[in-house]
């Protein structure tokens, strides 16, 4: 016989048996029973100040560790506040489980107080979701939710739990094995396709590896390196793929796409074989599709069959887990010298390095990112969205996976800071820095309170241009410098004072000469958040750049 428990207790037990150690969330009427149960639980509970931040923190936790992140919100507004965070996790295939309270079962559909149809709302932005009407389903559903979130192409799962289901008592039984008729991700690649891929690779003259977030998700970075060295082929990465291949490796081409390196974009354009691993051919990476890798045959390895052939025609499709597929592929690929191709790429690299103008007086964001990289090369770096994100992607040399935490697919301003909190909670001994824009930071700045409360020593390095910088850049380049609604010149606002008022540490930097000391000072503090307000050159732009709709080799600047 099992113990008699109520739904809330069953949920917490189920979370514990999934190994959940920390959750992010905010209580409210419809989750009172749950929070009452949590009061006695060993699960660490991080009370955020906004549910969006709870979802982002769970996401940051997941990205930093590869484990499932968990967030909780009450019904209605609590649940809808999670929505951006869930959509963000969905777009970047990040495994989170979101738990929401719901009005009592008999009230559902009556527009009761704080009712929102959160399973309906999140249907298109979750991998799957559940509305539990019977507490006996809780153990099974939680188990399924974690299984779905963390296998195949990872993603968010939401569980909606009406209040009366939380209080109803029943006999608890451990769920059996997960049995989902309609969910059996393909992990092993098709042997014949793998051999065909190897054939194409051996025959190719100008191969390029194109690696994305899928490589990181499946921990295939080591196999990827072996493959690149074996062929040998240069490697370019999407934003989500940065860290999948060491930036310092001679075969690294850095990032592809809109703000990628010229040599990556040129190499892909001239290649005769593109080996795409864990990418989804997003428009920010490919530019104009008709001109993308026009001379190349394409091998596409991905765990999600629906990604294969979605945006580009593929010559060799391989559905499977990147790590398993690459392991197999390594058995058939043989080394072949491709001196001409390598020389050409070397020439491009020498001719078109990433660069920016340097002088002693102007505080430039690229210099700050380089300094951070120099002083803490191993740090976990979160970013916000906009120029700050692109400068980080360009100038921080990511050597390892799971070091960059950034909102790629959705491009969510306000993601970086709460995500960095999630990462720091997961990895308390690591340095975690959110490289932020002033606009983005303001979108979840209230989380300073969370970081102070829980003594979370994250650092926020604000590249403060007093603009919605990336939008301003587009207005400068494509709208005749008509700076419509992008100026954030809050003359009296000081980030340092905001940080201090919350109980954190604030440091202001206005000159290049102060950068190093400020970073070092920030690094010494680990028991509260530190905000460094870098007053950067206001109209610095991100270059190089592919204009919207252009081919990636039409890269300018």
């Amino acid at each position: 016989m099992g113990d008699i428990v109520n739904g809330a207790e069953a949920l917490i037990r189920s979370l514990e048996s999934e190994g959940v150690e920390v959750i992010f969330g905010i209580p409210g009427g419809a989750v009172l029973p749950l929070y009452d149960e949590l009061f006695d639980s060993d699960i660490v509970q991080i009370l955020t100040r906004h549910e969006q931040a709870a979802a982002h923190a769970a996401d940051g936790f997941a990205r930093a560790t590869g484990k499932v992140g968990v967030c909780i919100a009450t019904s209605g507004p609590g649940a809808t506040n999670l929505v951006t965070g869930i959509a963000n996790a969905y777009m970047d295939s990040s495994p989170i489980v979101a738990i929401t309270g719901q009005v009592t079962v008999n009230m559902i559909g009556n527009d009761a107080f704080q009712e929102a149809d959160i399973t309906g709302i999140t249907m298109p932005i979750t991998k799957h979701n559940y509305l539990i009407k019977n507490p006996r389903d809780i153990p099974r559903v939680v188990k399924e939710a974690f299984h779905i979130a963390s296998t195949g192409r990872r993603g968010p799962v939401l569980i909606d739990l009406p209040k009366d289901v939380q209080t109803e008592e029943f006999e608890y039984h451990n769920p059996g094995k997960v049995n989902l008729l309609g969910y059996r991700p393909t992990l092993k690649g098709h042997p014949r396709q793998i051999k065909r891929a190897a054939d194409l690779i051996v025959k190719s003259e100008r191969p390029v590896i194109f690696a994305g977030g899928g490589v990181i998700a499946s921990s295939a970075h080591e196999e990827l390196r072996q493959l690149a060295e074996l062929i040998p082929a240069p490697v370019t990465m999407t934003l989500m793929g940065l860290g999948a291949f060491p930036a310092s490796h001679p075969l690294s081409l850095g990032m592809i796409g809109m703000h990628g390196t010229k040599y990556a974009n040129y190499a892909v354009t001239e290649s005769d074989l593109l080996i795409a691993v864990g990418v989804r051919f997003d428009d920010r990476a490919t530019g104009k599709l008709e001109s993308f890798a026009p001379e190349a045959k394409i091998i596409h390895i991905d765990i999600d069959p629906a990604e294969i052939g979605k945006n580009v025609r593929v010559d060799v499709p391989i559905v499977g887990d990147a790590k398993l597929v690459l392991k197999e592929l390594l058995k058939y690929v043989k080394y072949r010298a491709r001196k001409e191709w390598q020389d050409k790429i070397e020439r491009w690299k020498r001719k078109y390095p990433l660069s920016y103008s340097k002088d002693d007086k102007t505080l430039r964001p690229q210099y700050i990112v380089e300094k951070v990289n120099e002083l803490v090369p191993d740090a976990v770096i979160a970013t916000e969205v906009g120029q700050n994100q692109m400068w980080t992607a360009q100038y921080f040399k990511f050597e390892k996976p799971r070091k960059l935490i950034t909102s790629g697919g959705l491009g969510t301003m306000g993601f970086g800071f709460p995500a960095s909190i999630g990462a720091k909670v997961a990895l308390p001994d690591e340095t975690v820095i959110d490289i932020a824009g002033d606009g983005s930071f303001l979108m979840n700045i209230q989380e300073l309170a969370t970081a102070v409360d829980f003594e979370i020593g994250v650092k926020v390095f604000v590249l403060n241009n007093q603009f919605l910088g990336m939008v301003r850049q587009w207005q400068e380049l494509f709208f005749n410098r008509r700076y419509s609604n992008v100026c954030l010149r809050c003359r009296r606002m000081e980030f340092t004072k905001i940080a201090e008022a919350f109980g954190g540490k604030g440091i202001e930097v206005t000159k290049p000469g102060e950068v190093e000391d400020a970073i070092k000072q920030a690094l010494e503090i680990d028991d509260r958040p530190v905000v460094v307000d870098f007053k950067i050159a206001r109209e610095e732009n991100v270059f190089p750049m592919v204009p919207a709709g252009a081919a990636i080799n039409e890269i300018i600047g």
Binding site: M123, K127, G182
Partner: protein, 166 residues
């Protein structure tokens, strides 16, 4: 080009919304959708007629397969399957045309299932062409109302659509 998909799904609340939502958000055009349970009460079968080229069909199939509650998606070839639809058609009946309408009904092996002084309801089963042909003929008398089930279909012969995901 029209394709007929047989979609085996778990018989759970919300599954229809998931499927319908997928079609609208990805911009696929549904011609018709019919759904009912199977001999296994835990499973429902949807027959979806979708308009699109091979690329669209491939994407629709793959995206449907990604839904956790979708168990199997099969593209039914018209030449290899039986396709049926049922329609109820309410027509105006002038007394002097009554015999004529009854004759047409007969020719189509349709049935008259309701009669009043001014109207009749005709029930017809068949493939899309047959139902279209009948409605074209009946239009001259004035169709007052029509309800169609949408197509259901099944592969001919011993081949069946099984539970394992394809």
């Amino acid at each position: 080009m029209k394709h007929t998909l047989a979609v085996l799904v778990e018989n759970k609340p919300g599954v229809l919304a998931r499927v319908a939502g997928l079609f609208s958000r990805r911009g696929y055009n549904i011609d018709s959708l019919a759904v009912g349970i199977t001999d296994n009460e835990n499973l429902s079968r949807m027959t979806i007629v979708v308009e699109g080229d091979e690329h669209v069909l491939e994407q629709v199939t793959k995206q449907l397969n990604k839904l956790i509650e979708v168990i199997k998606v099969s593209d039914l070839q018209p030449e290899e399957s039986v396709e049926r639809e049922l329609a109820l058609i309410k027509v105006n009946v002038d007394p002097e045309k009554r015999a004529e309408i009854m004759m047409i009904t007969d020719i189509f092996r349709a049935r008259i299932v309701d009669v009043s002084t001014r109207t009749m309801i005709i029930e017809v089963t068949g493939d899309e062409d047959k139902i279209n042909a009948l409605t074209t003929l009946l239009r001259q008398y004035g169709i007052k109302e029509m309800a169609r089930t949408g197509k259901i279909a099944m592969i001919r012969g011993s081949k069946v659509i099984k539970r394992e995901k394809g």
